[in-house]
């Protein structure tokens, strides 16, 4: 409905989305640094690094699903389930094992979502809306009350620092780096992107479309499971009610980063940019002491402005 505007191309790659995201982020950072004494303090920067982790992990998984032309609304519920499962199991199992089982639960939910979408051809929106409801229920069925792991070692994942960088931020960065390579350099990653563009063409090219779609949801489930475990470890308490509406920020990050919800289009780097934009907006509004509901008003408006600016 709009006319194509000039694109920025670097070595044959269209980097308009990345460039605009980068510009928006630089702008936000400059505004923040010059108008707030607190912004550049080590404490605040560490906060930023920690606060981007959950949205970041979810956004990467969401991007993979969005690339196939799907969507995963269930991630917030998976965060709750995986977190409370890992916390609960840590009473009887070694902590790393409990955490891996938490992530594995996320993968399992992803496989179910993916199978319903790919094998039975159901609409991703409703499948994951239904599983959002079911998985949330299961989290409460597992434990109605928050679970506090008795072993304080459960907290170390969430609080360890690698030099000035929180370990969980490093984990997220690794996910993004590996994810970038996966999508741009592996046959599976390329197939996932192509499927979002035209699944039939991909099928006729001899690529197993179902398998790749299921893989995409499993990746999203894995990211959500990891985010749940990380969050539980960070807070030190796993709550069945955590994660409501987390999917919205994850989707917003992808779209701010220029991903198309129709599939086939989206960049790992720009999605990370989208995560930064959201985290910066929240941080700024807090630093300025903007009242909670005015924060909501402004957050929505800022998102509109950002996507207006980076609009193709």
């Amino acid at each position: 409905m709009t006319v194509a505007s000039p694109r920025l191309v670097l070595r044959g790659r269209d980097i308009t989305a990345e460039a605009i995201s980068a510009a928006v982020i630089v702008l936000l950072v400059v505004v923040a640094a010059t108008t707030s004494d607190t912004f550049l303090t080590p404490v605040n920067l560490t906060n930023l690094l920690k606060q981007m982790v959950t949205t970041g992990l979810l956004a990467f998984g969401m991007l993979v699903v969005i690339l196939t032309g799907g969507i995963d609304l269930s991630v917030g519920s998976v965060v709750a389930f995986s977190g409370i499962l890992a916390a609960g199991l840590s009473a009887g199992l070694p902590i790393p094992v409990a955490m891996v089982v938490g992530v594995a639960a996320g993968i399992a939910f992803g496989l179910v979502n993916g199978t319903l979408v790919a094998r039975f051809g159901l609409a991703p929106f409703v499948v994951t809306l239904a599983s959002l409801t079911t998985i949330r229920g299961l989290a409460f069925v597992y434990s109605e009350v928050p679970v506090t792991p008795s072993d304080p070692a459960f907290l170390s994942l969430g609080s360890a620092m690698l030099g000035p960088i929180p370990l969980i931020t490093v984990i997220m960065a690794v996910v993004f780096a590996a994810g970038g390579v996966f999508l741009s350099r592996t046959p599976a990653g390329r197939s996932i992107i192509a499927i979002g563009g035209n699944a039939e063409t991909v099928r006729l090219a001899g690529i197993n479309v179902r398998k790749h779609v299921i893989l995409a949801y499993a990746i999203s489930g894995a990211c959500a499971g990891l985010a749940g475990v990380v969050l539980a470890s960070r807070v030190g308490i796993a709550q069945p009610s955590v994660g409501v509406a987390f999917e919205l920020d994850a989707i917003a990050a992808c779209v701010i980063g220029g991903a198309s919800l129709a599939g086939g289009r989206g960049s790992v780097r720009a999605t990370f940019g989208g995560v930064l934009v959201l985290v910066l907006i929240n941080n700024l509004l807090n630093l300025y002491g903007v009242q909670s509901f005015w924060q909501q008003v402004l957050k929505g408006l800022i998102i509109i402005v950002v996507i207006l600016v980076r609009r193709k």
Partner: protein
Amino acid sequence: QDDGKQTIGVANFLLSGPYFSGMDKAIAAQAKKKGNVEVISTDANGDAAKLASNVEDLLSKNVDAIIISGGPLESAPAALNAIKQAGKPVVLVDRKFATGEYTSWIGPDNKAIGVQNGQFLAKQLADGGKVGIIKGGPADNSIGLARTEGVKSVLGTAQGITLVEAPDFGNWSSDGGLSVMESLLAQHGDLKAVFCENDAMCLGAQRAIADAGKAEQIVIAGVDGQNEALKAIQDGTNYLVTGLNDADEIGSKGLDRAVEILGGAQVEKDTVVPSPMVTKENAAQYYDPNGSF
């Protein structure tokens, strides 16, 4: 009814919070104790219209009385009207509705809890200092507002004390408390104490304080008497105090109240359940590791 069996409907506005599910369980447990009382529990999952229809559902099942656990709902006039028209008694637990007719209410004095916390902190910070406040939200939640108001009424005038209210809400949850506390710490590294409108948020805040290496510097005050908080208080951490807002007690008393009314007793309209201050000294008395909340 002839066999003396009574049915009591419970209309929960939102079960998915540990406090509320704890209360729902307490009501059911108390009914079981009584032997001849059956409880039908419903959950509106945060939808006010659904609460109204759940109440209508319960009335259609011809329950003898209704208990409403309204949580963050400020009132439900239409539901109260329907109950009144059906001629059934309604007991409110925890949440007293701002408007509408009810038979009886049992719950805490939220302002008093706040005052109590304020007084404790004032004593603790004899040399003054900065006190952070973390609210649950949303802005229309009068329970939280009353608690904060109580704290402010004391500390607002206390010598040398400054109050900083976090702009963002902690959503009554531990993860919310954690991230609000982080932002608070970024701007106010010199906090001496923090008050949260409930324990769940305090538990998250305590983590953020520990991560920032300020456990020695900042003390914590909460509300509710959630198990984890009682344990932290008992263990002698920087979590110093909470105002008991006992879901078990309020729930079971609510059930008792409904039964009394059905028995024809003349009852008090509003009953405030006292909220004793829990500190390291008396925490053992309240801490039940196997309790549901």
